[in-house]
Each structure stands twice: as structure tokens, then as C-alpha cells.
Symmetry: C2
Subunit: 204 residues, 2 copies
DNA sequence: GCTATATTTGACCATACGGTTAAACCAACA
DNA sequence: TGTTGGTTTAACCGTATGGTCAAATATAGC
């Protein structure tokens, strides 16, 4: 049918909005229906249950969250540019979807095991290994400090994502308005790579 | 009555366990009652409603989470030691209470406004300002790089807390067993201060 | 326009859940 | 031992919620 895609798409958008805001247990099927401007029974017509609808959304969110940025990470950029690229693009991505980090962190905690399949699809582990290898080569050349690469990768991710997950705390304690927080994260796109590179580069 | 404190304490412990695992919407009063090995009606006898019990728990968690460590931050330690102290003690604290970060990050997102009173009690803003002032003095002496202190503070917190919030993701993608993750975080107590100080100190 | 198929809807169902009640229980004390 | 007051409990209540169903409505092919 013609309308099918439209309705289905409306539902998916509404569901993403509600699930990312309220989480699985907090979300109400009625609320999703209202948001999509359809009858609650139609939800179950298109997606049989809350669980199935949720899985669809969760998969889509996780794919968006991991895919877009991580994919480009084993390009032929140098270490510096990869770090710059990652921070800048991740912050951009989350600025467009502010609810993603908390949503993922939270539901992750409930479901852990079944999520790992999704990670596998993105071949994260392989990309990380490539990056580690590239770094080691640079260490051998004397350009970067030797360090536990798992710590470095954790640092890059933490610095980029955490401020969004803890946004209200930061805004309050650093006394930032919404606009100021936006500016703060804009600055941060440059600040993080600078901060990291200051720490890991060896200046000859 | 004699038994009152015991029962009340049992409830609070059970409630903390369940709320930090499942969040407000995910937690069930029956589950808390079971965990405390009492009747569900007794819950309502001691704490009138789910909301009130939750607020009690949330306040207690937040106080523990903020107080213990942050309080000691405006001591007379030097910058280096304050950063070392903060990272080490925060990681210790969370290792003892692994559910705290996700719990706070999540509920925070639902409730923001009423939480700020609790932050005020801990005088976080003042302590941050003191730290900023101390840093500026050191910059003037030429010992540390000049930088936006709000970024630095965000970095310290992000690096310490985020790995716990995203633990399953990290464990999977860095291929760490539970024991290895523990070791990883043990190393991290030293790694973070080193990483940060490498970046901000000026070597003469 | 008629039939078959897909979609939408209001009404309904069963269960789960937070919360209440009244009776039972128990310790202290007169 | 009987009375009092705090505590515990089983049974119950009203509502919210995920899910179903059959009737109604729209759509497409003939």
C-alpha cells in the first residue's frame, strides 16, 4: 500500500522520540501513538509488541551512533587528524541527537548481551586494532609517547561523549545557560584534540 | 520501638539496590519489599509512597557521590595532587558502588530542577571556583598552560566516571573480562592524572 | 461499481502496579 | 492479666498499561 511507508515512518520517528526520552520502562505505547497521531492498535498492527518496536529503535539508534563516525576511522588519515575527526564528528552527531547517549548507556545496562551482535556488525574491534597498530608505528618513529592504547581510546570516547550524558550537572555547576552550553561544546571540538595531542605527542 | 531502625534500614538498603539497578520507572515496590524481606504494605507504612522513598534514596546516593570526594578538594594540596586525589578516590568510590553513575545520569535527566538544591548543599560551585583560582595562580607562575578551566574540569570528571557508565561497551570492544576491567580501572587511577598532567604542565 | 485486501479504529480484556484498609500481632506497662 | 500503641500482614481497590478483536473504512484491481 502507498501509505504504509508513511505511517510506519511516522511511528518509528515517534517511537524514537519517546523511547530516547523515557527509556523502555518509562515509555508508554499510548504516548507513542499520540506522538505519531495514530491509534494505539495501529502500533501493534505494524510492530507486534512494545519489545519488538523497542528493539527496532534501539538497533537503529545504535547503528547511527556507532556507524557514521566509526566507519571513517580506518581511513588513511594521520593519528592527529583521526582524533580531530572523531571528536568533531561525534560531537556533531550528538548535538543533532542529544538523547542518544543516555538512552544507550541506560538500556545497555539492562540488556547487555544481545547488543553485542550489533557491535560486531560495525566491526568496531577490528577498527580499534587498526588504529592501535597505526599508533604503535608512530611510537616506533618517536613521534608519540608509548602508552596503553586501551586507555587512550577510552579517553577519546570519554571526553567526547560524557559531557552530553552529564549535561544538566555540568550546566548547573559550571553555570552555563543552554546557549552557553552549546558554545562550550563547540569550543570542545577543538579543545579535546588539542588536550589529547598535547599529552601524547613528543615535541622534538 | 527497637525494631524500627532495623526494618527502616533494611528497606533503605533494598530500595537502593533496586532503584540503582532498575531506575525509578523500572523499580517495583513489590521487588523492594521482597529484597527487604518484608510485606509490601510495610513499605508504605515507613515511606508513604514510591516517590518519597525514591527521593530519599536519590538524595542519599547523590550525597555519597558528590560529598565524600568533592569535599576534600579545597584542601591545601597542590594542583597535581588534587587531580591525583580526585581521580583515585572517585574511581575507588564507584568501584564500591558501580550502579551509581548510570542511576544518577538517568534520573537526573528526568528530574533536573529539584536536584539542583542537593548540589547547592555541597557547595560544588564554590569549590570549583577555588580550584580555578588556584590554577590561575599557577598559570601566572608559568607552571601550567593557560586554558578554559571549565574544559579542564569537564575532562577530569569525564575521564574518571565515563568508563563506568559505558562499562559493557568498553569491555566488549576492548575485549576485557570482568577481572581485566577491574585491572584496567586500577591502572586508570594512575593513568588519568599522568595523562592530564602531561597535557597541562609546562616543562621548563 | 464490485470484490478482495490492507489499514484504521473504538471497545474491550487481563494483568500489573501503587496504594489502602482493617484485622492481627506483639511488646511494654499498669 | 488487660490495655495501649506501635508494627506487620493478607486481602482488597482503582487505575494504568500492553495487548486483542471485530467491525468499519479505505484502497486497488477488475
Amino acid at each position: 500500500m502507498e501509505n504504509e511507508l508513511v505511517t510506519e515512518e511516522k511511528i518509528l520517528q515517534a517511537a524514537m522520540k519517546v523511547f530516547t526520552r523515557k527509556g523502555y520502562t518509562g515509555a508508554r505505547m499510548q504516548e507513542i501513538a499520540d506522538e505519531a497521531e495514530i491509534n494505539k492498535a495501529s502500533l501493534h498492527y505494524y510492530f507486534r509488541s512494545k519489545q519488538l518496536l523497542f528493539e527496532r529503535i534501539f538497533q537503529s539508534v545504535l547503528t547511527k551512533f556507532l556507524g557514521e563516525v566509526v566507519t571513517k576511522l580506518d581511513s588513511d588519515l594521520c593519528i592527529d587528524d583521526k582524533i580531530r575527526f572523531f571528536c568533531e564528528n561525534y560531537i556533531n552527531l550528538i548535538q543533532k541527537n542529544p538523547g542518544f547517549p543516555n538512552f544507550i548507556l541506560n538500556e545497555l545496562h539492562q540488556n547487555p548481551q544481545y547488543i553485542f551482535e550489533l557491535f560486531n556488525k560495525q566491526q568496531i574491534q577490528q577498527r580499534i586494532k587498526n588504529f592501535m597498530f597505526q599508533y604503535k608505528e608512530e611510537v616506533a618513529k618517536g613521534n608519540y609517547r608509548e602508552m596503553d592504547m586501551r586507555q587512550l581510546i577510552t579517553n577519546i570516547i570519554s571526553l567526547s561523549i560524557f559531557p552530553f550524558a552529564a549535561r544538566p550537572i555540568l550546566q548547573f555547576n559550571l553555570d552555563l545557560s543552554n546557549d552557553e552550553f552549546y558554545e562550550f561544546m563547540e569550543d570542545r571540538k577543538k579543545h579535546i584534540p588539542e588536550f589529547i595531542l598535547n599529552s601524547i605527542k613528543i615535541n622534538k
